[in-house]
Symmetry: C2
Subunit: 285 residues, 2 copies
């Protein structure tokens, strides 16, 4: 996943988290900092350093000992005083630190955040080949604190010229399940070209008309065409289908689009993490 350094802090008799954050703040090889910890011995100092560093690069924290039981186990394991989780939650948020709910999430956020460009605004649009995915993705949008753009009538009309009349209007843009590659291409291109849209969530559902690798390649093509025009927006993708979607997701990921097989939650969660970071760092007006 592109790891610049791994540090185990041990008993922190000398160096602690603050020192490491300060070091990696200046390290040009490091774009995202992920931390697993059971306590923070000097909370005030950590807050000061983390607030500064998180303005420059994302700091992701997996704080173990969230529950009273977990905290007791942490204490018998390393002597950590895991403390009141609510306080950690508030402090980390105030510092602009992104808290990961679990180990896998920490790894997914870390991998995706260095791929995603910083969004220029809050307007998120879902383009989906399956209405069912559109519903699940919409749920995930709300649960991850994202804002589904209210579709302006002219833009709605522009999308509608590409999709069948029984496709659902508005946002999600439901292109329906039987569409050829051109429909995906046209709608994704429009989503990238219109400056009112700041981020895209793609929902793909396996069809014979547009198979997984065809979908993956066309997305990469449109994205690279747009990059040549200077347009670079965060895009994530959710792919459902048979095992071919795994290869398609990998192809997308390799080309800068975090994509996940069999999940409508993870793509939206990583986009949500990117937004939380960008807001905390004052990068979104």
């Amino acid at each position: 996943m592109g790891v610049s350094a791994i540090v185990g802090v041990g008993n922190q008799s000398d160096l602690d988290e603050d020192d490491l954050l300060t070091f990696f703040e200046e390290d040009d090889e490091t774009h995202v900092i992920a931390m697993h910890c059971e306590d923070l011995k000097d909370g005030r100092s950590f807050a000061e350093v983390a607030s500064r560093v998180s303005k420059k690069k994302p700091v992701i924290v997996l704080k173990a000992g969230r529950t009273a039981l977990g905290a007791r186990v942490a204490s018998s394991h390393t002597g950590a005083l895991a403390g009141n989780d609510k306080i950690y939650d508030d402090v980390l948020r105030q510092c602009g630190v992104i808290r990961a709910p679990g180990l896998r999430d920490m790894l997914e956020y870390t991998r995706a955040l260095q791929k995603l460009p910083t969004p220029k605004g809050e307007n998120v649009v879902i383009i989906t080949g399956a209405g069912g995915s559109g519903v699940l993705l919409s749920d995930a949008v709300v649960m991850n604190g994202l804002n589904l753009m209210r579709m302006p009538p002219d833009l709605d009309k522009a999308f509608r010229q590409f999709i069948p009349p029984f496709g659902a209007a508005g946002n999600p843009v439901d292109i329906t399940g039987g569409e050829p590659p051109a429909t995906y291409k046209n709608t994704i291109r429009l989503g990238l070209e219109d400056p009112r849209i700041h981020s895209l969530i793609l929902g793909y559902w396996h069809t014979i008309i547009t198979p997984p690798m065809v979908f993956a390649r066309l997305v990469v093509e449109v994205v690279e065409e747009m990059k040549r025009k200077g347009i670079d927006k965060p895009i994530v993708a959710s792919l459902a289908g048979d095992v071919q979607v795994e290869e398609a997701a990998e192809h997308l990921y390799d080309h800068g689009i975090p994509a996940y097989a069999y999940s409508t939650e993870i793509p939206v969660a990583v986009l949500g993490a990117k937004y939380r970071w960008a807001r905390g760092a004052g990068l979104i007006k």
Copy 2:
């Protein structure tokens, strides 16, 4: 993943979810029923049928339209009235139906529940080669409504004879990170043999002394030795390390032990789902 049937209900002009549940209740090829739905048109009838069927086999539901936005999108997509999510949540729980929070969870629960034997009681023990995993697994135990067994002094003493003096006492059983295969074997065997323990959660952390595949093979060996003695308890495993842990997780899964690379949450979540089902079906005293 061993799929006996896939049914799309369409607009349900004739057959609906209740009919399908009734059909698969009697189908011997079907061990677990997973459903994705946006609404339940006849809630009373569904509750009646689901309550009966879930006593025989697990029914897992991914209910889309959890949020107000998702519900609105569902309604424009299929005309579904997704309704108040709290009510769905209560009704599904009362029916003994296991609700999956997301698509990936639904798939993981479905795959794992048919592998895991039904637990005979509530006492869960964590055996871990890494204290840090023990803390994260303990958090997950609480968040998934499981009960970490209070370790009886004689059993604690029995575990301690196998682990170094600096290993943590109690539950989690922290065997520490530098141990050879024999320590894993002895502690897991004890965990399976003692009738007061009903389920095991294994935390593996990649070491050179006990590499991933060595760990996976020894677990399978002990489990099969115990099965020959008539002992069969639910076991799940969390594996952290380099890519070798993926192969090890697959080997474990192929031998009836749901195992997950890079996650301390998913193994505990699937065990939690098995417990929720077993409690609802009245199979745990």
